[in-house]
Symmetry: C3
Subunit: 337 residues, 3 copies
Amino acid sequence: MTGRQVRFPLSGQVSRRSMLAGAAAGVVAPVTATVLGGGTASAAPRDRGKPGDGLLRRVTVYAEELPSGLYGYGLQPGKATVPGPVLEIWEGDTLEIELVNNTDRRLSIHPHGVNYETTSDGSPLNDSFNEPGETRTYVWSTRAPSEGPGGFWLPGSAGYWHYHDHALGGEHGTEGIAKGLYGALVVRREGDPLPDRQFTVVFNDMTINNKVAPHVPVFEANLGERVEFIAIGHGNNFHTFHLHAHRWAENRTGYLQGPDDPSRVIDTRDLNPGDSFGFQVIAGDGVGPGAWMYHCHVQFHSDGGMAGVFLVRNADGSMPEGAQEALDRYHQHSGGH
Amino acid sequence: MTGRQVRFPLSGQVSRRSMLAGAAAGVVAPVTATVLGGGTASAAPRDRGKPGDGLLRRVTVYAEELPSGLYGYGLQPGKATVPGPVLEIWEGDTLEIELVNNTDRRLSIHPHGVNYETTSDGSPLNDSFNEPGETRTYVWSTRAPSEGPGGFWLPGSAGYWHYHDHALGGEHGTEGIAKGLYGALVVRREGDPLPDRQFTVVFNDMTINNKVAPHVPVFEANLGERVEFIAIGHGNNFHTFHLHAHRWAENRTGYLQGPDDPSRVIDTRDLNPGDSFGFQVIAGDGVGPGAWMYHCHVQFHSDGGMAGVFLVRNADGSMPEGAQEALDRYHQHSGGH
Amino acid sequence: MTGRQVRFPLSGQVSRRSMLAGAAAGVVAPVTATVLGGGTASAAPRDRGKPGDGLLRRVTVYAEELPSGLYGYGLQPGKATVPGPVLEIWEGDTLEIELVNNTDRRLSIHPHGVNYETTSDGSPLNDSFNEPGETRTYVWSTRAPSEGPGGFWLPGSAGYWHYHDHALGGEHGTEGIAKGLYGALVVRREGDPLPDRQFTVVFNDMTINNKVAPHVPVFEANLGERVEFIAIGHGNNFHTFHLHAHRWAENRTGYLQGPDDPSRVIDTRDLNPGDSFGFQVIAGDGVGPGAWMYHCHVQFHSDGGMAGVFLVRNADGSMPEGAQEALDRYHQHSGGH
């Protein structure tokens, strides 16, 4: 049930050490990418290497049809998942994705938040997609904020972004997205805190990660761990993401810059198609361990199964009092009674 | 038509003085809570006591069925309203709610924005609700921002939050919310300006405070008064809240921190289920007195009756020119003509 | 295809010089307003005059029925467009709009973001509209941020706002809005960068500017030009605006205040009825020239035709490689295939 951390090096480096060694300007280095096992909890290490300076990272992504009829992206053949792996880079890095299309359908990969030329747009408009069986390279680059006009600054690339198909079944990848071709893309800025755990939550039509309760992921962490949520909206419906007993600031990181930061603090946020956001919380901080719900707050969506559990275990990893009973109740979740 | 300010002391204090006297660290003090009379205008005093330091406040809330078939929360038996009373505390305070369930249905109270253990979650998942006729205590705590990882800060609890049922009619309180079990929760930070008037606006399905025009509340203030709106979304539909002739900053308080604060200034904002926000305006500032509309800006929602009036009287409380005629027109509001 | 910059002076000034000459406190000066030709690209000059100090600007606006059955606002008789002209003033200015109703329907003009008395509300509630054939003056004023309570500041008027009918076909102008009576209103603050190009994008029900693909505007700019998008939501549906390969900060200007500004950077944003936002991008910056899509990211909306092209030409204005083919493909856009 726990995801695996997989790195795909260009030239045989497989350990974290070798990735760090490659982290110099202009040196090709592997991307840090996390495979979420079945959409559930995934351990992400604190050490993802250092912010690069024009660092080129490379990854091979496989698009495949799953036995269920869904489609997924994966970092190894036969290992596609819904959502796809978290792709994570430092602001300033460039990411080269070699997309292998192991399906019999036209498809692509289109990112949000980063830079790309029209050839890497991933859209049929720009003739940028993989034919069935085709392998194609997409290049995404990133950059720090820079001075703009009149003393204002142009935005950098750091953010909680996402990627998705833009070609399967139409001009806009509607069928590809509906069937699972999506994932999280994190671009970090130097100094951003790294999480202990990382979870991707995609509100896609009336599902979470193409599942409904009681099959929605149970995300697990231990009391006090730094947990990162990356929330993505897709499909045809509007949604609101709510997490019980935890909250975050409505800005780039979810943290405040200081005690006087005017950012709104929230525990519920609109999550509509194409939008994404992310934040970190300290699991159970101020509220204790237990089974905490996360769900769409549109009432008939939560009643219809858009609800999951964020299980905060005791600090030693043991099950807190009452949590198993809560999980048992969750596994009987139905459409309202 | 005007609401009443009611305080429920633990040990017999009933005056504002006694509340202030109790406002020392560790001392149990009554909560400041405002009963909105029929969902309409409510005077709130400038003096709500001082920011506490771990102050424990207690309040008894009664959940009751109303003659109309709606359900409401109230601060006295037989006095339940829709929306329920504004519960208002200082950041750092703890609030103990003794919820008396005077109905024959399972129900609960679930807050947004504050801290609570699983036993106070208010959800069936955590077996946290009142059976019919049962009294149960829920504890909500709050805290100031604190230093977090890497020089970032963890959010405090201050905000324009809300509370609602999470158990009547299902896992998520869908029936309870639909029928009126909701209200505003304000957590203030030391230094936050206090309002002269305070209004709760809940966009719940296709209603405002479970009413449609011409029965939606007329909120009244005098020119120059500091007026606080607390806006809450509920139900199954998406909405946009628009207030004529007044605007606010999209941040924690609705005020700017200074002339260079980059916050967006708005007069229309998404208000979707589970979301809430609040702000203060100076009534009629720069625009004069009169009958100003507030409404959902989704066209068929406003046409269908999601529209009310913010009546800004002259500074002396008299009716401004043209305002009575506007109110008369409002009382003939229908579904478009 | 290119819009025209038109100024309507009060007393015969027609050149930009004369407008600048009039830009002293208390002096009546023409409004800077841009007519968007057929909703497509419009050149806006860098020089719009200087921030005024209580400057009174005047403009005459004509509301007319179009041959298509739509309605539009225009700055000359017979020249109404959908969307209407961009009305643009400096924070501190007052704008007097003489609205000439050349139709046989009741209608009005209602602004967001600025100050107005009830007589200029534009709503039937306040008896503020034009009868068929009637001419009526509406006055909108603006102001800088000012000190408010407790060291906080009251918002100024600067922002990316909009105006629309509030009277045609009902209390809320639902028919007028549905049929095209809307436009952008920009209030700039001293120091705000001025754009080279300016585009208005209105998501109105299931259309963009009351058009669907392949008839949605192709917005054109040259590589490196400063391009301003003003995005407005209207109607009955929820939407999300996405622009390929460009992004902006979620604050008043879309720029950051500096490298540490915590504002979220985005390339997709909710755009629901009554809401509006704006931002500037450097065309093709970091991504190169080409045909970049902008579209609603709600999948069945984009498939249904809520998609257009932002054509970034080479710096010399020539067509970049592949762009004509992309435009050709766009012109065959259908409901998914």
